[in-house]
Amino acid sequence: MNIMLEAKDINKSFSGVKVLKDVHIEIAKGEVHALMGENGAGKSTLIKILTGAYTKDSGSIFWKGKEVEISSLRDCQNLGMACIYQELSVIPVLTVAQNIYLGREPKIGKTGFIDYKKMNRMTQELIDNYEFPLKPTDMAGDLGIGLRQLIEILKGLSCDAELLIMDEPTASLSGKEAEILFRTIETLRDKGVSILYISHRLEEVYRLSDRLTILRDGVNEAVLIKAEIKPQKVIRFMIGKEVDESNGSVKTLTKNTNETALKVENLTSRGKFNDISFEVKKGEILGFGGLIGAGRTELVRCLYGADKYTSGTIYLYGEKHVPGSTKKSIKKGFGFVPEDRRGEGFIPLLSVNKNIAVTNYDLISKKLMAISSKEELAMCLSSIEKIDIRPPDPDKQVGLLSGGNQQKVVIGKWLMRELKVLIVDEPTAGIDVGAKDEIYGLLQALARSGVVIILVSSDLQELLRLSDRILVMRKGKIVKEFSAGTVTQADILEAASGLMEERL
């Protein structure tokens, strides 16, 4: 086997926490090598080290057998690696050819004018060579995200890249676009290009990869060759062998027999999710599992009234509820903690005080339209005390707090109201362990007081730890319900990846 890139005994720690321990990975010429692992397994860190974004603590990297130092993206490109990012850097107002040769356009003689004919011809050659469904003169902005991604790939190939690194390339693609990408990847492999493919979607890895490296908690768990890549086996390696209540890899669910609080019937939003029906009992924590793009966030946003849905009915304690606007939902007792905390959760320039009050002005008395600042402050102080926001300074801008405390502010404003349903979408993403536990405690206490909690989480441990019942969504549909008995992380992952359907 002709090894292109090899990384040996890579170690990396962040502020004393080891995230990679003696990790090893090698990619051969002309193979699709997949890299898998749960959230936090160290995939991104490894890629960032390989592309020069992070420096490794120890270990060595070999390119075609020679030891190399990669300290910037440029080093990485000079060697012949190209990284295809999730967030695309394609410029929409330029053509395919202009995008590919941006900054290194062929010139007419020494005049400095761009030789468009030559540029288009060179692009056409590339396209023909790798059989891409593109034309050099297509305007990038007119193409879908999938085809724009192909431009990125071509850009890499035009610099004679021999190894492409793709980080979750299908995260924002439709099924059809993904199919085009898969075919392209297969063509590239046949032409001798190596591909390092990072994904957490089993079916893609199953289909594409020649070999698979699995990371778990920063350690090499396994390297499987194509014949060994069996979904159940992969899941076992990703999650670990010991199934134990204490580490959150398994949970015994018990049925909640309270009255039904929220009932959803045949909710559909075209292109996002389809025919969703479920019930939630009073005081129940209902977890939604599934892969990114399964339609969970879209569903809860519609429930809350932040987005519109096409058809379906929602009942709140037997009463029909039409979430026309977020204002109306809030009045009915809904609360919402969005997925994108910084972008949608709080107002960074405003103080803790004003962020807490922003949903609750109907509860504060006013004189001549002037808000009683005394009551406003009292509300803030009570929430600071209740949820332990640190530092306990009502005038501190929320943008300056730590991630965990920002999230506490986002949750805290809802605790000041009489809540019936609290929707939390990825409540602890990017939050340190201590604050995580506090937020779990808060949510559980709320549920005990009778509030319905709808939890969307991609963190399986979190999902199992908090949920009383788990619904798994896949491609906009609910595919599995775990309502009683024991359930493990592997069960959820299998359902989310579609393995359950295949076995039926």
Partner: protein
């Protein structure tokens, strides 16, 4: 740390005091007199008045470039109305009501186009700037209409109560109302919330579109009040009477630390910004800078002042935004 923040918070007041001290030392006899101070305030009263309304659009992260020509339109309408009713007080009242109505309608239009059609505020108000100017030109046949009566009309811009002219009181009143709305009412909190993070504001149950539209209405109304005052000061109606005022307003706001990215800024600081610009003009006259050099000097002082004041602030805000963009969705 605490000390630093306080200096930043009161930096405009410090600059103001420094200005006054320097000018007092340079021109001890002519600067610090009631007459001169009254003059300075009178010269900025219209800008201050406009800023009190336009600040709402700036706080949203929007802008209103049409205020200058909207002033012209309301000045012309008022004068034409007065003329039509034979220069009577009745004509004046109708004229003012008409001007206010125009301000409300223009503001509604801006707000609706910006929020519901998702057009950038810059483009919309840039376009209406020439629309309003055009209407005024049609109405007045592109002529200057002189208007010296009724007395009540001339009193609006030139009348005195004590040592100060009436527009100074009007500016103070409008600025106080604006301060009250921004700092005391729920609507004011919503303006800062929508300007600071529109998505988060929506998720908090705020009707962001309604808030935006109202902000543009405020801007329109203060522009039309400004138009009436300016017509009275100049005792005439002219289509181009207010042109250039939009620049002065934005200059005052930005010098006062209002962020053009939205969500940040105080009305009192913006008024101080207007006063600083007025003092600069006045100081240059007193010290005897030739008028040919004044524009150059003023522009440079503004650039330097704003650069020093905002360098740190924009940096931190830019970081916030970049952090948001670079955030990796796992």
């Amino acid at each position: 740390m605490k000390y630093k923040i306080n200096i930043r918070k009161y930096s405009k007041w410090l600059i103001l005091v420094a200005f006054v001290v320097v000018l007092t030392i340079l021109k001890p006899k002519s600067f610090l007199t009631i007459g001169n101070i009254s003059n300075v305030l009178w010269s900025i009263s219209v800008v201050g008045l406009l800023t009190s309304g336009t600040i709402f659009t700036l706080l949203l992260g929007g802008i209103d470039l049409s205020v200058g020509s909207l002033m012209g339109l309301s000045a012309c309408t008022t004068v034409l109305m007065i003329q039509k009713f034979g220069f009577t007080n009745q004509g004046l009242v109708r004229g003012i009501l008409c001007a206010l109505l125009i301000g409300v309608v223009a503001g509604c239009f801006h707000g609706i186009v910006v929020t519901l059609c998702n057009v950038q505020a810059f483009l919309v108000t840039f376009a209406t700037q020439s629309v309003f100017l055009g209407i005024s030109q049609v109405l007045t046949n592109n002529k200057i209409i002189s208007c010296l009566k009724p007395d009540l009309f001339t009193a609006i811009g030139l009348g005195r109560i004590g040592p100060f002219t009436f527009p100074i009181y009007l500016m103070t009143m409008v600025a106080l109302i604006s301060w009250y709305i921004l700092n005391k009412t729920v609507f004011g909190r919503y303006v800062y919330a929508v300007g600071g993070n529109r998505e988060a504001a929506k998720n908090s149950g705020i009707n962001d579109k309604m808030v935006s539209i109202l902000c543009y209405v405020f801007s329109g109304v203060t522009a039309s009040i400004g138009g009436v005052v300016l017509a009275s000061m100049t005792q005439q109606g002219m289509a181009s009477t207010g042109s250039g005022y939009e620049t002065d307003v934005i200059t005052a706001a930005v010098i006062g630390g209002v962020s053009l990215l939205g969500g940040e800024g105080k009305i009192q600081d913006a008024i101080i910004g207007a006063v600083l610009v007025g003092l600069l003009n006045n100081g240059m006259n007193l010290v005897g800078v030739p008028s040919t050099h004044q524009g150059l000097l003023k522009g440079m002082v503004i650039v330097i002042a704003v650069a020093i004041d905002l360098a740190g602030k924009y940096e931190s805000k830019r970081k916030l935004i970049e952090f948001k963009k670079g955030r990796k969705v796992v």
